[in-house]
């Protein structure tokens, strides 16, 4: 890659990072507004009815609506930045993903704490790879490994799905590549059609 080409690519990747940030905000706005906010509107209306007529049925209904808002908020808060990741590091963060991914996942993640940017990047790489495995590749299982080696964090996510993933077409994978590049790391995708996908990322510590 010539100096000119690498400058062009840098400008493109910066534009993608900004666009990815805007898309994330849009998605969060839509999810909060369409989900928890509507459930809370319902709860408030039901409580207004219950204020005039305090029946156990109305109170139970308002409670169910508030609980449903709470569970939607929990899911969104987790998607923004899981508490387990910030408090317990990468292994806890990945553990917190397992209930939310519709796929059995075997994990082998080193427990050591690392700089927040590394933990966060590694976490979102793993989260995106597992989401792709479950949603797009039709995988029946996946394995996650993350270990420090020679001053790097090596992350590998392997699934047994359909393969054929192309980083040029999926914005998710391109977004990951930009995020990893911003940390000075590398991303390798091995996804032969019909033979599963292995995503390997290295991040300098």
């Amino acid at each position: 890659m010539s100096r000119h080409e690498s400058r062009e690519e840098l400008i493109r990747s910066r534009a993608r990072v900004v666009a990815a940030g805007d898309n994330t905000r849009r998605r969060i706005q839509r999810e909060l507004h369409g989900g928890a906010q509507q459930r809370l509107v319902q709860a408030i209306i039901t409580l207004k009815l219950a204020k005039a007529d305090p029946s156990p049925e109305l109170i139970a209904e308002a409670l169910a609506q508030a609980e449903s808002a709470m569970s939607e908020l929990r899911a969104i808060v987790h998607a923004i930045m899981p508490a387990a990741l910030a408090r317990g590091g990468l292994r806890s963060g990945v553990e917190s993903l397992l209930d939310r991914v519709a796929l059995p996942v075997e994990i082998d993640v080193a427990p050591e704490r690392m700089p927040p940017q590394i933990e966060t990047t590694a976490y979102f790489v793993i989260a995106e790879a597992l989401t792709n495995a479950a949603k797009h590749a039709g995988a029946t299982g996946a394995r996650v490994r993350a270990a420090q080696r020679d001053g790097e964090l090596l992350v590998e996510v392997r699934d047994d799905g359909a393969g054929g993933a192309d980083p040029e077409t999926g914005t998710g994978l391109l977004g990951l590549a930009d995020r990893v590049a911003a940390c000075g790391g590398t991303l390798t995708l091995d996804s032969p059609t019909g033979a599963g996908t292995t995503l390997t990322v290295t991040l300098p510590l």
């Binding site: 906010q37 509107v41 209306i45 009815l49």
Partner: protein, 130 residues
């Protein structure tokens, strides 16, 4: 509500016939129940602009409560269509947003007012129409 406290409503307030235009069945059901319990006459509901205008024509409601977001449709656009095609029905825009979140979108529409869904109530609607 006790008979005692509802009695002044019957004396002082004329009936308000109200159409709810919102694409959430859940909201329509709760809003109709709340407004009905507070003495408003909810005569119908619609989840699209086309249906709302049909009902405005056949039911001639005094007021249409129109969500600013009707799925892919826009309630503010619909308020303009109401002003042109069903001028006897006044439009009150509603939303789970607060008015401050909407900039000048409300003041630039022909709607007679705006109510956040969390402030929905017969008294609030009567105050806007008064």
């Amino acid at each position: 509500m006790s008979l005692h406290s509802s009695a002044p409503y019957a004396k002082l307030e004329v009936s308000v016939r109200c159409l709810i235009v919102d694409d959430s069945d859940e909201f329509v059901a709760s809003a109709a129940r709340l407004l009905g319990s507070q003495g408003l006459d909810v005569v119908g509901s619609a989840s699209s602009g086309v249906r709302a205008l049909e009902l405005a024509g056949s039911l001639e409601p005094d007021v249409a409560l129109v969500d600013i977001e009707l799925g892919e449709e826009d309630g503010i656009e619909l308020s303009h269509v109401f002003a042109a095609q069903a001028p006897a029905t006044r439009v009150v825009l509603i939303s789970s947003y607060d008015q401050a979140d909407l900039g000048d979108l409300i003041s630039r529409s022909p709607a007679v007012g705006f109510l956040p869904k969390t402030d929905l109530g017969a008294a609030e609607i009567r105050a806007i129409l008064a």
